[in-house]
Point group: C2
Chain length 261, copies 2
DNA sequence: TCATTTCATTGGCCAGGCCATAAACGTGAC
DNA sequence: GTCACGTTTATGGCCTGGCCAATGAAATGA
């Protein structure tokens, strides 16, 4: 019966010492302000010397950090600190989902829960600056109704601004993690103008709810928006599978990937 | 202006091909049922030969997977597939938090949002088996009022069962990721019997709400429970800092760690 | 002025080895 | 027989040293 104690306690950190040493060092570099998001880290060989460890061990630590989206290495150029909002690596949930069989509707439900609550928090805490940013993005969305690519940019920034306005970067990071997969898919998909118009209207309503600091309305409106988006995306995906671009039947897709719907 | 397109699109997977090859192979191993959660993977040297890659590259892939909690290597024993509920590695949020400055109250708020919504979903979808499990855990919690360690076990299992009953493993995984840090801290902390009694009462109320399939009540009761837990834990932490075990002032703790409160 | 080539820098990957740990095995005492 | 204790073996952690490939800037030429 005491096995259960171990069953819970064995889920602590784990990981080797050297790897965590690298993590701590990078964390110190960032916390101390020596490097900022977007900056390049010192070369691997140099960092390895400074930490008195081999390059392979250093690479293990870098791999760990890049696995969770903190670092990003570019062959021949260097290793960089990720910019943008905090988020776990997009492939984290993707891999976890593949292993545990996450379904598309579960993705949407999770997103719905997170975004609607974040919207409610944003309605409570948004500053005038946040509200101004939201207004800006809504305006740009209306101006980009004929350019899906451009529209998507402002769509993403609108939701990210709400996440920032919520004052809780943790919920923002979780949101970012879930939606990261969807963005990638949407960026390859064309959306017709009618849907965009409707989408812009919804965003404007969300903006209004937040501007008037009405959490309940912000939550409800966000839920409506996401539900509409889900329906639109589902019908698109259906149309896409009925007329794929190239020959590549892959009948019945035995292993459903998250991003594939 | 087109820089923004790149700004969003550069957040795609990334990662080297070899690493992803390892990820795919392990995923295939699990999906095909060749290995199950808890099983041991083939030795690194053997797997490296089978994949026609060097052992260091294989280790990069294993590091990636263990960074997100899918695998877990034990020196001298082997590499194992993680058992238990799906969850990102507990250190993910910890590191992210250290880098972006997550605050304790934000952790609790995120947990509150996730758990209350999960409880509501569980009230809608719980099967009789789930409800029976919950009743079991509540009973064991009452039986362990004088044994905080044992109590914690059933506390954790109660919440995990709710997560399973919610029918959404994604929300469950996010919940696990956030609470993982708190568990570790709580397992080292003694709780007085009065708090445990109160806690058990709350759990019973949550159980009743779920049993009667009342989502609203389940959500509200869960929120109350977590708020009480937060207050109790905060006062404990305060008492602990006023009378630390050994001499180790570390005044003002310049870098607040998530698990430290 | 601009395109092209060259070259140093840097991350990706490999080969082979040694050490530390854990588990299985054998050995002997009782 | 069985239990305790060394021994051997499998396995992950880490290192050295190297070569290749991509990148970007400097040198070069039109």
């Amino acid at each position: 019966m005491k096995k259960e104690v171990k069953e819970i306690n064995d889920e602590v950190t784990g990981h080797s010492q050297l790897t965590m040493q690298v993590v701590d060092h990078v964390r110190a570099l960032i916390s101390s302000g020596e490097v900022h998001p977007g900056d390049r880290l010192p070369p691997e060989r140099e960092l390895a010397r400074k930490l008195k460890i081999s390059r392979s061990s250093l690479r293990a630590g870098i791999g760990f950090l890049s696995a969770m989206g903190v670092l990003k290495s570019r062959h021949g150029a260097g290793t960089f600190v990720s910019s943008g909002p905090p988020a776990l690596d997009s492939s984290s949930l993707s891999v976890l989902g593949a292993l545990h069989g996450f379904l598309p509707w579960q993705m949407f439900e999770a997103r719905l829960v997170l975004e609607s609550n974040v919207a409610a928090l944003a309605a409570e805490r948004a500053t005038d600056e946040h509200i101004a940013e939201l207004a800006e993005e809504v305006a740009e969305m209306y101006a980009a109704l004929t350019d899906p690519q451009e529209y998507l940019i402002h769509d993403v920034r609108f939701h990210r601004t709400i996440a920032r306005a919520s004052g809780n970067p943790i919920l923002g990071a979780l949101m970012e993690t879930i939606t990261a997969n969807l963005y990638e898919y949407r960026s390859k998909t064309v959306v017709n103008a009618v849907d965009l118009k409707e989408s812009a209207e919804m965003h404007r309503e969300i903006y209004r709810a937040i501007r008037s600091h009405n959490p309940t309305q912000a939550r409800v409106t966000m839920e409506q928006h996401l539900n509409l988006a889900r329906i639109a995306q589902a019908s698109e995906a259906e149309a896409a599978t009925q007329a794929p671009k190239s020959a590549e039947p892959e009948a019945s897709t035995p292993e459903p990937t998250i991003t594939s719907s």
